[in-house]
């Protein structure tokens, strides 16, 4: 059952061949069988899942169903879920039972998608390996010695291992696409503002954007249709007409101009990753596309700019964790300052504290212009590079990450090396563009993702390119042997 596409599941649910309760129970059984070792879930919610599945079955029987009705889902533990613990991978929120639903959760609940549980992640989404979680690292289903990527590593791992058919993620600097790449699944970061941030625990608000993690591009298109749309409760939500992200699925790629940035194939790129990506680009080209060289000259400035701006925003966003209204409070505070300082020092992990301190410093008197303003200027230069590149191409293709998944523990003591792993994904977040990762082979026996970046609002086109690629390849259908 866990090898079906979303459309096939929908057909079986509607023909009466299976019920949502059976489908949901199938995934719950797989979670109990496999997750002890994988550690992809922080919380599993079997009772909630079954009661939602029963309601979904009634909806289907009443003829009141949508395409995703009855299909279970796992939510990254950054999405607030009313009545369910929402930890954001942090000790700070270990006792936090969300008092309301994120907008995305409200939308998916309304459709009738049973919640299997909440997935593990880097603490407060700050990381590229899911190792910084208070609940311990998630393993990569393809190789338990490897990280699943991050920060949405739990969500990526559950899709790769077949523990859920769909999962939500968020992408601030690559946190949907990089774990999708490392786990051999499909993930898309939509245009900034396409999906509501309401009820998603904030990390860096001008970058944070939610997206689906799925097996195939087609599944992502269906899920994005359900997630995206204007929400007045998010002040940066885009007021646009509802888009049908499946609208272009099936269109020919004839005449597609594929931009390949010379700068993306330089030093530091693993040769096996490069080989897989070049082969994939050629294969897409063979479907009628034309490869053109483009340039993104400021690419190397994106990582430092991001690591000024995102921590600066984080230092403001995370000031709310003060031990007063919710979350962790230290024992026996001596005075108010002691309450603040010890609650934060004991409640946050090392990487989160580091980013808050870096952010506070970058915003402090005397450094604001040199760091924060400079980084914002670079942000515009990086965005303008993309604008110029899109004058001569329709999409840009390259690697998602310079390597396939690294080993657990390999980079955890070297932050800067971990940061530089996101050099291909971060520029896209600075610019706010949509980008897709689709499985494109293996390097060093671990999955590799092809990165497809498009102009603003080109999600439907990107998903169709991914879909066409998945018609001629079967990387997305492959599963790690022990989870088949």
């Amino acid at each position: 059952m866990h090898n079906l596409t979303i459309k096939q599941m929908n057909e079986k649910l509607h023909s009466g061949e299976i019920t949502s309760v059976q489908l949901t129970q199938h995934y719950l059984d797989r979670i109990s069988q496999y997750d002890g070792d994988l550690n992809a879930f922080v919380t599993v919610t079997p009772e909630l899942a079954i009661s939602m599945a029963e309601a979904a079955d009634q909806k289907i029987a009443a003829g009141d169903a949508e395409l995703l009705t009855g299909i279970p889902i796992a939510h990254k533990d950054i999405f607030c879920t009313d009545g369910v613990k929402t930890s954001c991978g942090s000790k700070m929120l270990d006792n936090f039972i969300a008092p309301y639903d994120a907008h995305v959760v409200t939308l998916l609940n309304k459709i009738g998608m049973p919640i299997l549980g909440k997935t593990n992640m880097d603490e407060f989404a700050m990381g590229s390996s899911s190792e910084s979680s208070y609940y311990g690292p998630t393993k990569n289903p393809w190789d338990h010695k490897a990280v699943p990527g991050g920060s949405s590593g739990g969500s990526a791992a559950v899709i790769a291992a077949g523990l859920a058919p769909l999962a939500t993620g968020t992408d601030t600097g690559g946190s949907v696409r990089q774990p999708a790449s490392f786990c051999g699944i499909t993930g898309i970061k939509p245009t900034y503002g396409a999906v509501s941030r309401f009820g998603i625990i904030a990390y860096a608000s001008s970058f944070d954007q939610a997206g689906p993690l799925t097996r195939s591009a087609e599944d992502s298109a269906w899920m994005l249709n359900a997630m995206a749309g204007f929400d007045e409760r998010d002040s940066t939500s885009l007021e646009r007409e509802k888009t049908d992200y499946t609208a272009e699925l099936g269109q020919s790629l004839k005449g597609l101009r594929i931009g390949v940035p010379a700068e993306y194939f330089g030093e530091g790129l693993d040769p096996e990753v490069e080989a897989a990506i070049r082969t994939a680009i050629t294969e897409v080209g063979n479907l009628g596309g034309e490869v053109v060289e483009v340039h993104l000259p400021n690419k190397d400035l994106a990582v430092p700019a991001y690591y000024v701006l995102a921590p600066a925003e984080a230092s403001a966003n995370l000031s709310r964790y003060d031990g007063v209204r919710f979350g962790y409070r230290c024992d026996q505070p001596q005075d108010l300052e002691d309450l603040y300082k010890r609650s934060r020092s004991e409640g946050f992990g090392e990487e989160v504290k580091r980013r808050i301190m870096v952010g506070a410093y970058a915003l402090s008197a005397g450094y604001y212009d040199a760091y924060y303003v400079k980084a914002q200027q670079l942000r515009r230069m990086v965005r303008d590079d993309f604008t110029k590149a899109f004058e001569s191409c329709d999409v840009i293709m390259g690697p998602v990450a310079p390597t396939s998944a690294f080993n657990i523990g390999e980079k955890s003591d070297d932050q800067v090396s971990m940061y530089l792993n996101d050099l291909y994904t971060i520029p896209v977040n600075l610019a706010g563009l949509p980008a897709l990762s689709v499985p494109a082979g293996f390097a060093n026996n671990r999955p590799v993702g092809l990165h497809i970046v498009g102009p603003y609002f080109s999600e439907a086109k990107l998903l169709n390119i991914g879909h066409q690629f998945q018609q001629i390849t079967d990387w997305h259908k492959q599963m790690p042997a022990q989870y088949q």
Partner: protein, 95 residues
């Protein structure tokens, strides 16, 4: 760029994060590594470039100044560490 003890203490105060005496050197070293990354930005010529805070250069939306939230303090305070009579309790501030 190398941070010293004074700077770490200053940052600790700004961030309201306690850095214990024995942690200062380690924190200084790790923060210094990150600040070294920032120095790469210096090489870029950004004269005349307007700082960008929103990818689509959009501005914040306004809404009518009307009440949209209902009172649900009991639900929201149910998860608070310490509450009395609908007020959050903190250590005594004024003697």
């Amino acid at each position: 760029m190398s941070l010293g003890k004074t700077e770490v203490e200053y940052i600790s105060r700004l961030a309201q994060i306690e850095v214990r005496e024995e942690e200062v050197d380690g924190v200084a070293a790790k923060l210094s590594n990150i600040l070294d990354l920032f120095t790469q930005m210096e090489a870029a010529d950004t004269r005349g470039v307007e700082p960008m805070s929103h990818p689509l250069d959009a501005v914040q939306r306004f809404r009518a100044d009307v009440v949209t939230e209902v009172d649900q303090h009991e639900k929201l305070q149910a998860i608070a560490p310490s509450v009395t009579q609908a007020h959050y309790l903190v250590p005594q501030v004024i003697e």
